[in-house]
Symmetry: C2
Subunit: 416 residues, 2 copies
C-alpha cells in the first residue's frame, strides 16, 4: 500500500474524529455544533502538518493556504465537514480530504506552484439542522442575507443567530466575510456521487455540467384536535387524514413526470411535524416539508404548482386550512465549461475515465460558481447510498479524485 493510500485512510478517520470508519450509527456533526467545531480543529491540525497557514474567516469557514506569492492568483479547493443526523463519513469529508491529499502529493513531489493554493473547509453545508444549506459558501460569495435567516430555529428552538454566535461568529461583523472576486481565481470541489451513474457508465470520475438546486415547500395544514375516543368518525377535522394522500401524490406525479422529462426530477415529502402527536388526540395540525429538484428549472417549478393545486383540492373537499410557503427556490447552476475541459485533461493524463453528468444534490460549489469559475467532480460511492450510516467510498476512489486534483493543480500552476 502506498504512503498516500495510508495517509488518506488515516486522515479520513482524523477528519471524522474516529479511529475506524466502521461505525454502526454513522456520524452526526450538525451545523454549528461542538461536533462540527471538533472536525474543524482536526482539519487545522492536518493542514498545519502539511505546512499550510491556517485561518478562520468571519463565518468560521476554515482556510489552509499554500502561499507562494501574495500577488499571484489563488485557486481554492475544498468542501465541508458537517453531516446530517446519522450520516456517512464521506459526504463533504471526501472533498476536504482529497484537497488536502492533492497538496500533500504536490509537496511530496517538491512541486513549486506558480499560484497560491487554498484548501477551504466550508462551515454548515447541510440543511439538516436549520433547513438552510451551504451557509459558509453562501457567506463568502455574497449570497447570505443574515437577517433573513437569523430567527430560523432548529428542533430545540435554537435560532441560527444563537447557534452561530455560540460557534464563535461575531454577528455584527459577519457581513465582512464576503470575499472580493479578485481574491480567488477559481474554485474546485470533489464530492461522492450519491448515486450510481458512475458504476453504470463504468467511469472513474464524474465531471459535472450543472447542479440541480431545489425548490423547497413547507405545507401547513390546520384541522381540529379532539379526543380520539369521543369524536365520531364522520365528525372530524383530522389534519393527518386530509393531507396523507399528498405523500403518495408527490411520489406518483414525480414518477409520471420522469416518463417524458429530458432532465430527471426528484420530489420527496421528507419532513413532518404532527401536533399534538399524542395517542388520544386527533391530529389537529401538520407541517410537511417537500424537496423538489431538477436541473430543468421550469419542470421543478411546474411541479411545485401541481402540489399547490392538489392542496387546494384537499382544502375544497375537506374541512381543513392549508397554507404553502416556498422556503427555497433557486435557479440551477451551470458550471464553468473551461474548467470542465481542464478536468477532462487531468483525467486523461492519469488514465482515468471521465463521465459528464449533472448533480442532483446541491453543493458549496453552486454558490462559488456565482462568483468564480468553478468545477465539481464526483467519485463513486457504494450503491449510491448517502446521508446514511452505510454511506461508503473506497479509499481507491478517493485516491483517484485526489490524483485528478493534484494533476489539475500541477497543470494549471506549472511554470510556463
Amino acid at each position: 500500500m502506498s504512503t498516500l493510500t495510508t495517509w488518506l485512510e488515516e486522515t479520513l478517520c482524523t477528519l471524522n474524529l474516529t479511529k475506524t470508519m466502521d461505525v454502526p450509527n454513522g456520524f452526526t456533526r450538525l451545523s454549528f455544533t461542538n461536533e462540527e467545531k471538533s472536525a474543524h480543529h482536526a482539519f487545522q491540525r492536518v493542514a498545519r502538518e502539511l505546512g499550510l497557514s491556517v485561518y478562520e474567516d468571519e463565518v468560521c469557514n476554515q482556510w489552509a493556504v499554500w502561499e507562494v506569492d501574495p500577488s499571484a492568483p489563488t485557486i481554492a479547493i475544498g468542501s465541508h465537514l458537517d453531516t446530517v443526523d446519522n450520516g456517512g463519513g464521506y459526504d463533504g469529508v471526501a472533498g476536504v480530504l482529497s484537497a488536502l491529499g492533492a497538496v500533500k502529493m504536490l509537496k511530496d513531489q517538491n512541486f513549486q506552484p506558480t499560484k497560491n493554493i487554498a484548501v477551504v473547509c466550508f462551515v454548515s453545508e447541510e440543511s439538516a439542522r436549520f433547513g438552510v444549506s451551504t451557509i459558509g459558501s453562501k457567506a463568502i460569495s455574497s449570497k447570505l442575507n443574515k437577517e433573513e435567516i437569523a430567527d430560523v430555529t432548529d428542533r430545540d428552538g435554537i435560532t441560527i443567530k444563537q447557534a452561530m454566535e455560540d460557534f464563535g461568529v461575531n454577528w455584527q461583523t459577519l457581513d465582512n466575510v464576503t470575499l472580493p472576486v479578485q481574491k480567488l481565481e477559481s474554485f474546485l470541489e470533489l464530492h461522492i456521487e450519491q448515486s450510481t451513474q458512475l458504476v453504470e457508465q463504468n467511469a472513474d470520475i464524474g465531471i459535472i455540467n450543472g447542479v440541480a438546486c431545489p425548490v423547497r415547500l413547507k405545507v401547513h395544514v390546520k384541522g381540529m384536535a379532539n379526543h380520539t375516543g369521543t369524536t365520531p368518525m364522520h365528525n372530524r377535522q383530522d389534519a393527518f387524514v386530509s393531507i396523507a394522500p399528498l405523500v403518495n401524490f408527490v411520489q406518483e406525479e414525480a414518477l409520471k413526470a420522469n416518463e417524458t422529462a429530458t432532465s430527471p426530477l426528484v420530489a420527496t415529502v421528507s419532513t413532518m411535524q404532527l401536533k399534538p402527536n399524542a395517542m388520544n388526540v386527533i391530529p389537529g395540525e401538520i407541517e410537511l416539508g417537500i424537496d423538489i429538484r431538477s436541473v430543468d428549472d421550469d419542470l421543478k417549478r411546474q411541479f411545485a404548482k401541481t402540489i399547490e393545486t392538489f392542496c387546494k383540492e384537499i382544502e375544497t373537499k375537506q374541512d381543513v386550512t392549508i397554507s404553502i410557503t416556498t422556503l427555497v427556490d433557486n435557479d440551477s447552476v451551470a458550471l464553468d465549461p473551461i474548467i470542465q475541459g481542464k478536468l477532462q485533461e487531468a483525467c486523461k493524463t492519469v488514465g482515468l475515465s471521465a463521465h459528464e453528468m449533472d448533480s442532483g444534490a446541491g453543493h458549496d460549489v453552486m454558490n462559488m460558481a456565482s462568483k468564480w469559475p468553478s468545477g465539481l467532480i464526483f467519485i463513486r460511492c457504494k450503491d449510491g447510498v448517502s446521508h446514511h450510516p452505510d454511506e461508503y467510498a473506497a479509499i481507491e476512489d478517493i485516491e483517484k479524485g485526489t490524483t485528478v486534483f493534484a494533476t489539475y493543480l500541477q497543470q494549471q500552476t506549472s511554470k510556463a
Copy 2:
C-alpha cells in the same frame, strides 16, 4: 349568583392554576410534571379549606377525606388534574371540582353523613406524555405492573420510572399503594361528555353503562434513508410513501365499520415519528401510533387485525419492513347497574333529566370498576370539543353535576 356558583367558578380557576379560564393556548399539565404537582397542591389547599384531611398515597394520588367513623364504609369520588398538551381546563378538573363541591354543599347544609366520604385526585390519567393512561387509578386497583412500564420514555427520552421518582414516588415501595377492597365501598366519577349526545338528547346528565377501552397499536416501518436529490424516484425505499395510505385506510375502514356495527367504533392514526425528519433525506423509518375504540371488544380487535393485514400487503408490495406492537388491549368495562339506578334517582330528586349512554373515552373509573362498584356521570361540554384549548363546560352544568353528587351522597349516607 349563588355562593356555590361563585365558589365553583373560583375553585375551577384555582385547580387550573389560573385567574381566568379564557386562556388562548389552553392548559398543559402533563403527567408527573411540576405543573401536575402544582395542581395537586392547589387541590390540597381547597380540600383543607373544606375541613378535609389530606394525604398522598404511594403513587402520589391525592386523597381528601371527610372521616365520620373509621369503622364506617367509605365512598370515594373524584377524577384527575393532569391534561394533554394544550388541553382544556375541564377534562378531569370538572370531576375533582364537583366532588369537592358536593362535599361543600353537604357541609354548608350541616349534613352529617353516616359513611366516610373521600375525594380523590388521581395522578397521571392522560396518556399524552408516555402513551400510558390512568396510572394513579391503575395503581390502587392492582392493575399497574410497574416493571412493564418502567422504561417507557416520553418525547425527551425520560423514562416513566425517572419521572415518577422525580415526582416523589418511591419506586421500591410503589406496590404498597394497592388499596385493599374493604377500604372503599364504591367509587363515583363525573366527567365532561367530550361529545354532543347530551345536547342532541336534550338531557342534563349522562349516566354511563359502559366504558370503551382502547386497543393501541404501534406500527414501525423501516425503509432506507437516502439523499433526496440524488436518489432516482424508481429506486427508493421511502418509509413515508409506503405507509401513508394506512392513514386513510384507517379512516375509511372505520367509517365503513360504523355502517353496520351496533356499537360505534372510532380509530385514529394519532402519533407519528419520522426519521431522520430532515429536508434533504428520504424518510428511512416511521413509527405510527393507532388508537381504536368501541365497547364492542370483538369489533375493535377485528379492526386491529384488518390493519395488520393491510400492513402485510404493503410489506409484500413495497421494499419496507413493518412490525406491529400492541401497546394496550383492554376489555371494555361495564359499570355497576345498582349505582346507575341510584344516580337516576338522584337526578330525579333534583329535577334533572338523565340519559343512559356509553363512554367512548377511558377514565379512571374503568380501573376502579374492576375492584369496587362504580359509577360515572357526564355533563355537557360545548360542541363536544375536548383535549383542545376550546374545551368548555358551563358553570351551570358543573353545578348540575355537583348537585347530583351531593344528592346521591345524601341519599346513600343518611341515617336510616
